[in-house]
């Protein structure tokens, strides 16, 4: 966990990060391993013969400190996966800055980008789809090492190490992906991402396709690997209960923008943005007593189209606190209402004093009205 949290849209910390970048990696505590500023991704699509623009990601800024897990959460279409892919330049961002250890990734040519990718890898949701069905596990694990020019002897030793890291056995090496269960396949996906010893993993819904008992095993593995290898994670997920088990910080996205960001405890215990509050209140808790005491904020209406997002605050069309100002003035993502410097909210009317009832098992049930 980092000692210093820099708030995404805080100008001062922006400059501090810039200065730190100039001084190279002198102070790893202050300098984030990953620094994203105003990331924008627009897709052009044809709709009824016209060209329309899908605003998938509209100005996302975030920092990830070394060894830290930053969770990017939100519902389908919020832009969390697109953000993850833009960070690795698997999709080319429309504009913005992505810096990895002070190096601007967006300015790199193909060869330098490949070198930089040694240090940052991705794990996908569905290992069935992301592992080549006609390669054995040995081939799948050797491939990234060979691409990065490791000699055969090194490849062999590293493949054995990787098996141990993800708790697979030597006898698995000559099997094909279809011979494995979903959980084992995801272990292979993780081992493949770890092959070239990256410092940062983008995990895109890594446990969503798995049964709960298997989910827990993979979560346990990810937590162990983070500790053993000092990895930083960008953990992309829709399941807020899963996220709580490993996130240091959480950024909540809605329709292409981060609406709230903060330390995990700040987000889970004292969410301020109405969307975060609705989202948390909708997650069922596996405890009938707790469930009976909760009240849900059931959102009305539908998610607006990213082709034509609402003016001002993008959440205002479904928000019970919205006023005229919300339609004209976009709220900045900044600390508000005396929240801590690490906790930023993009809302003109933040607060936890509405009709929501949130529950925290460690502090009993809080009933607010």
């Amino acid at each position: 966990m980092s000692e210093v949290d820099s708030t995404a849209s805080d100008e001062a910390s922006d400059e501090a990060a810039d200065n730190a970048a100039d001084n190279a990696a002198a102070d790893t505590v202050v300098e984030p391993i990953l620094r994203v500023r105003n990331l924008v991704k627009e897709f052009r699509v044809r709709e009824l013969g016209r060209v329309a623009v899908v605003h998938a990601v509209s100005g996302v800024s975030l920092d990830v400190q070394p060894g830290e897990t930053m969770a990017l959460v939100g519902e389908s279409g919020c832009g969390k996966s697109t953000t993850g892919r833009c960070i690795l330049r698997l999709i080319e961002p429309t504009s913005g800055e992505v810096e990895f250890r002070g190096v601007d990734l967006l300015s790199l040519g193909a060869r330098d980008l490949r070198k930089a990718r040694r240090h940052m890898q991705i794990v996908f949701q569905d290992p069935q789809a992301s592992l080549h069905p006609r390669l054995t596990i040995r081939q799948l694990l050797s491939e990234p090492l060979e691409v990065h020019g490791e000699p055969p002897g090194v490849v062999r030793t590293r493949v054995d190490e990787l098996l141990g890291l993800v708790q697979l056995r030597a006898e698995h090496l000559d099997r094909y992906p279809h011979e494995f269960s979903g959980g084992q396949r995801q272990r292979v996906g993780i081992a493949r991402a770890l092959a070239i010893n990256p410092a940062l993993l983008v995990l895109d819904e890594p446990v969503s396709a798995l049964d709960v008992s298997i989910q827990a095993e993979i979560m346990r593995l990810l937590i162990d690997l983070r500790e053993r290898l000092g990895l930083s994670y960008v953990f992309i997920a829709h399941d807020l209960a899963v996220v709580r088990q490993l996130a240091d910080r959480v950024s909540v996205m809605y329709l292409g923008k981060i609406v709230e960001t903060g330390k995990a405890d700040e987000i889970y215990r004292a969410p301020q943005h109405p969307y975060t509050r609705a989202l948390l209140s909708a997650v069922p808790i596996p405890d009938p007593t707790v469930e009976r005491q909760r009240k849900r904020i059931v959102l009305g209406g539908e998610l607006p189209s990213p082709i034509d997002p609402p003016s001002g605050c993008r959440f205002r069309t479904r928000c019970w606190r919205a006023e005229a100002r919300c339609a004209t003035e976009e709220p900045a993502l900044i600390p508000r209402n005396g929240s801590s410097p690490s906790h930023a909210i993009a809302c003109h009317f933040p607060g936890d004093d509405d009709r929501a009832v949130l529950v925290d098992a460690e502090h009993g049930v809080q009933v607010e009205s």
Partner: protein
């Protein structure tokens, strides 16, 4: 296939909704076997479950536990499967019922909604047309114009805005949440008494899930519907149901009212599931408390199917498959946990 579960599961469920009433659906010793090149595959191995009017029962289990197959079997929706046992709706056994009579019940008195509304809706027909077809196949006297009016009314009931306009929309023009509302409208269009919902919110976002679960609860109360909720999500179960049946390897391994089942589960599988479940309200050390992988019907071990993954396993577990027996306020199929101290 020994150790069938023959006793009705309501015996110990004193606080379940209305023991004094007659169940609307009585499933007894239901078994489903699929043929395969490597021999018969027992997907469901003796499931018994009573469902009362107006109550919500959850059938919980991981993939391959047989929870969906059980429901598909009783509605006669499985091909090439051997189905035995009985499933009586108001006394009429649906298993082995002639197709014509079954059609008068299925989709009318007992209806079902599925996980993925996109694959259940016909992509080339409007929503209104599909609703109308479902109604007119069970209510032949209903005119086309009356069916359309009724379709609009139903869309309104499931909280779809501008229902008259939506009637002329095609499925791809609707969001996932709206499509599932359309499926629910279709399922309730012939005034069913039992609604089987198979993972109705699994493909949906959590805020949409909250909307759909609220809708299902409202309909249940308004119409005194019996709701059978098939799910893998114990969070949804905790908030939306009265009773729970936990399935593993084609059998009900634990059943009881929702409170005791969560507070004091008797079966090690139920306990493990609850332990490894991440919770929103607490940051705890994630436990991988169920090692190994779920038993599949193709490779059932002798004795208790959960024994290879169980930390309480005893030699006897590997030989004799346990039957449901009282454990506190639930019934659990575990010979270790339900043993009476001598």
């Amino acid at each position: 296939m020994n150790g069938s579960v023959n006793e009705p599961l309501t015996g110990s469920l004193s606080d379940a909704a209305g023991d004094h009433r007659t169940p609307i659906l009585e499933i007894e010793d239901l078994r489903v076997t699929f043929p395969s090149s490597s021999g018969p595959v027992p997907a469901v191995r003796g499931v018994s479950l009573d469902v009362y009017p107006g109550e919500a029962v959850a059938v919980v289990g991981e993939s391959g536990s047989g929870k969906s197959v059980t429901m598909l079997a009783l509605l006669g929706l499985l091909r090439n499967a051997t189905v035995t046992g009985s499933a009586r709706y108001r006394g009429t056994n649906l298993i082995g019922l002639d197709p014509a009579t079954l059609r008068t019940i299925r989709g009318a008195k007992v209806s079902m909604i599925f996980q993925d509304p996109m694959t259940s809706l016909n992509p080339v027909l409007t929503i209104g047309k599909q609703l109308s077809m479902v109604m007119r196949s069970h209510q032949p006297d209903l005119s086309k114009s009356a069916a359309r009016l009724r379709a609009i009314e139903l869309l309104e009931q499931v909280a779809i805005s501008q229902p008259a306009r939506r009637c002329d929309s095609y499925p791809h023009e609707l969001s996932g949440g709206m499509r599932q509302r359309v499926m629910i409208a279709m399922a309730i269009s012939n005034y069913p008494e039992v609604l089987i919902a198979d993972e109705p919110t699994t493909a949906l976002d959590v805020t949409v899930q909250a909307q759909i679960m609220e809708l299902l609860s409202d309909l249940r109360v308004q119409r005194n519907l019996a709701l059978i909720l098939i799910t893998h999500d114990l969070g949804v179960v905790a908030g939306a149901t009265d009773r729970v049946a936990v399935m593993y390897a084609g059998k009900v391994v634990e059943t009881g009212a929702v409170d005791p089942l969560f507070e004091d589960p008797g079966h090690p599988y139920t306990r493990g599931l609850l332990e490894c479940l991440p919770r929103l309200d607490v940051r705890h050390e994630v436990q991988a408390s169920i090692p190994g992988i779920p038993a599949t019907p193709q490779s059932l071990p002798p004795g208790c199917p959960f024994a290879p993954r169980c930390k309480h396993v005893e030699p006897a577990c590997l030989e004799v498959e346990p039957v449901l027996a009282p454990h506190g306020a639930t019934m659990a199929a575990c010979s270790v946990m339900t043993r009476v101290p001598s």
